[in-house]
């Protein structure tokens, strides 16, 4: 083997793979054409994903604090995982009301981020539809969704946060989730106090309130609702549903 054959071999073996799995797919994925909601209907609108929240900077805080190590953001097809059937993981499913928004993750779902935080391990639950869950838990616990998320970030082992319909509390002491206390500051108590002050931490003269980081991260987490209606050709839903079609 001469150095020349070696270099040609290296270039060919690595170059072909590089073109086929890096360069070409990356270029193609960057230039996806818009999709109509209904391919058969000429006048159908194009699908557009709408997200309102501080997604970019929130995702950066999400990454910097390593949330992706334990939380995923991916609802896989059922041949790979069953999280689509897990309660409230892949969307809202209410048989009586006839609501079923569950679906697999689509490539539009990460549209506003620079890096899809797919995640590494699933120590904690999947966060693809955390926004919905936060709203539900907040409603039963009697808080605003943002307040609920901050209470949870401050102390993930807070058993007051998961309240059932009859007022029963869920024990959370088993949780391994690290608390994000660096996102909260102790402040002097002024007047009635801050509406987002963490409950149980207010003393006569001080209160614990979220700082900018917690606000941004919460805003991002509350945007995590990846169950909007997709164009037919992209919507992968569980098949065994007997709820009436919503369209």
């Amino acid at each position: 083997m001469t150095i020349k054959t070696f270099l040609i071999g290296m270039l060919a073996s690595f170059g072909v793979a590089w073109m086929c799995i890096i360069a070409i797919p990356a270029a193609k994925m960057s230039a996806l054409s818009p999709v109509k909601m209904n391919v058969e209907d000429e006048d159908a609108p194009y699908y557009q994903r709408k997200v309102a929240g501080r997604v970019m900077s929130g995702a950066a805080i999400y990454g910097a604090n390593g949330c992706y190590y334990c939380h995923t953001q991916l609802i896989r097809p059922t041949y790979l995982g069953r999280q689509i059937w897990r309660k409230d993981a892949a969307g809202i499913y209410d048989k009586d009301e006839g609501i079923d928004t569950r679906r697999e993750t689509s490539h539009y779902d990460y549209k506003d981020e620079d890096f899809a935080r797919v995640g590494r391990m699933r120590v904690g639950p999947d966060l693809s539809n955390f926004g919905h869950r936060a709203e539900m838990y907040a409603a039963t616990a009697g808080m605003s969704p943002a307040q609920w998320v901050m209470e949870h970030l401050y102390n993930p082992r807070n058993s007051e946060l998961f309240v059932g319909n009859e007022g029963q509390k869920t024990d959370m002491s088993w949780s391994n989730c690290p608390s994000q206390k660096q996102m909260f500051d102790e402040n002097n108590l002024n007047g009635q106090g801050d509406s987002l002050a963490i409950s149980g931490q207010t003393t006569e003269s001080t209160e614990v309130i979220p700082n900018e980081q917690a606000l941004i991260l919460t805003s991002y987490l509350l945007t995590l609702k990846r169950d909007d209606i997709l164009p037919d050709m992209l919507a992968n839903k569980p098949k065994d549903v007997d709820v009436k079609e919503e369209n």
Binding site: C20, S30, N65, K111, A116
Partner: protein, 497 residues
């Protein structure tokens, strides 16, 4: 055993001594700072592991929370220890095999310091909340050009040494080292440009990030470890490689298969499906070159079982090669789509990384370090007991991690996740025994490497034994040096042919 040893001429001996002397400072710098980073990484690893079952350990300080300590641990292991140990071995191997003393030791040393500076900034950045959140690329974004520049300055002299090599024959280790030298910048630049610079689809950025992780293992760490294993085994046993044609074939099989692997880590996400399955297929097929190299090296070593028992270098190398075979089998299991359904988002991924980085790569590097350091410092290792402790605790630790993280823990966790009717707490609680076992395993590895670091530091400051008798793992006196006869590796090849 002695019939194959050759009397090499005085001139050759002088040349080898000159090469060793010329590279003493950079090689020892890479090894010692690498070992220091390994100790840092292991301390962080133990901490992260404790935090994974006891999140309030050491208080809830932001810099020491799991989500920052864990990436710091992994990046210190990869860039602080892994790449630096690789540098040390590859510059020495390339100089020795090309029979060219280095004339740029000072430049390499400066670049080595820059590399360490980059890694330090990166680790501190992660701990203080500036991590990027992209696996294996968590260093703050501005660090990667610095690391790449330092790499270029270190690597270029090995390419030069190869270019002006003496002698026509190119040994298999040189091809592997040359491969790693050329693959690393290509992989590193591709990953960082696509993930951090170009505006690509966020999912594609994630897929490329996962590809980067696999490519670093298979196209940088693996070739260096295999190169070192081929060299050490042939040298210590004084035998030519069992089958040289297979060795070259194994290299090309690795070159052709490995670049395709990696994107199976995001299987099930909405990226083109062929990327996911070609990644899985390649990650399984890569067992072929790994097994080819492994069997070839073990066959060579088994021609002299005695040497394996005596020589610390060969013992670590053989253990590393067993690690490689285990890695090939584990890759075969974990990359199968049916297994991915269970283990994709589980500790199995971590077990695979630890086996690749520690059980395979690091063990081969330890073997090389036990071989190279006495030559460049002209001192012998102080204590066979320290070496033995290092060996056995490493083996226990890494086997425990592979067993509990990858095989048992990974599938247990995956099964618990699939039970979608059960509450999430049952999935978390079922992992408790495995994460505790992982903590214990890291403690064993940490224990082993603290002694290794102390031993290496003593050698670095030239407190090693002044003796012509190498430190062996057993007492028996044999006539032939367990480091093998002095001589050039081609002579072994020629003797066989």
């Amino acid at each position: 055993m002695s019939e194959l040893s050759h009397d090499s001429s005085t001139e050759d001996t002088q040349l080898r001594a000159e090469i060793d002397r010329s590279l003493r400072h950079p090689v020892m710098f890479f090894f010692t700072s690498g070992a220091a980073w390994l100790a840092v990484s292991l301390i962080l690893g133990v901490l992260a592991s404790i935090k994974s079952h006891n999140p309030e350990f050491l208080g809830e300080c932001a810099q020491l929370q799991y989500g920052r300590v864990f990436p710091a641990h992994l990046n210190a292991l990869v860039y602080g220890w892994g790449v630096q140990a690789g540098f040390g071995v590859l510059i020495w191997l390339m100089a020795r095999l090309s029979r060219q003393p280095s004339r740029n030791a000072g430049t390499i040393l400066v670049a080595g310091h820059i590399w360490n500076l980059g890694v330090s900034i990166g680790i501190i950045g992660i701990l203080f909340g500036f991590g990027t959140g992209k696996q294996w690329m968590e260093f703050p974004t501005f660090v990667w050009p610095l690391l790449l520049a330092a790499y270029a300055v270190i690597a270029i002299w090995s390419l030069v040494a190869f270019r002006i090599r003496r002698g026509e024959h190119v040994y298999i280790s040189q091809w592997y080292v040359l491969g790693a030298l050329l693959w690393f910048p290509w992989i590193y630049l591709t990953a960082n440009l696509y993930v951090n610079v170009f505006d690509v689809h966020p999912l594609m950025a994630t897929a490329i990030n996962r590809w980067f992780r696999q490519a670093m293992i298979l196209l940088f760490f693996a070739p260096i470890a295999i190169a070192s294993a081929y060299y050490i085994t042939a040298k210590v046993t004084a035998r030519a490689i069992y089958n040289y044609t297979y060795a070259v074939g194994g290299f090309w099989a690795l070159a052709i298969i490995a670049p395709w692997a990696g994107m199976h880590a995001v299987m099930g996400s909405p990226i083109p499906v062929f990327l996911q399955y070609v990644g899985a297929a390649a990650a399984m097929l890569v067992a072929v070159p790994l097994i080819a190299a492994g069997v070839n090296i073990l066959k060579t070593a088994s021609q002299s079982g005695e040497a394996t028992a005596h020589s610390p270098s060969l013992r670590f190398t053989v253990a590393g090669i067993f690690g490689m075979l285990l890695l090939a089998v584990l890759g075969l299991i974990l990359a199968h789509p049916d297994a991915i359904a269970y283990t994709q988002f589980s500790t199995a991924v971590y077990g695979y990384e630890v086996l690749a980085l520690y059980g395979f790569f690091s063990m081969c590097m330890f073997g090389a370090i036990y071989f190279i350091v006495p030559r460049v410092t002209r001192r012998e290792w102080l204590s066979r007991r320290l070496i033995r402790t290092h060996f056995w605790f490493s083996i226990y630790g890494v086997l425990l991690i592979v067993l509990f993280c990858s095989i048992l823990g990974g599938f247990q966790q995956g099964a618990a996740q699939r039970a979608y009717d059960e509450s999430w707490s049952s999935a978390v609680l079922s992992m408790f025994p495995y994460v505790v076992a992982t903590t214990l395993a890291w403690c064993a590895i940490l224990y082993a490497n603290i002694f290794f670091f102390i031993h290496l530091t003593l050698m670095w400051i030239r407190l090693g034994r002044r003796s012509s008798h190498p430190t062996l793992l057993r007492h028996d006196h044999t006539t032939v040096s367990p480091h093998g006869p002095e001589g050039d590796i081609e002579e072994l090849e020629n003797a066989k042919a």
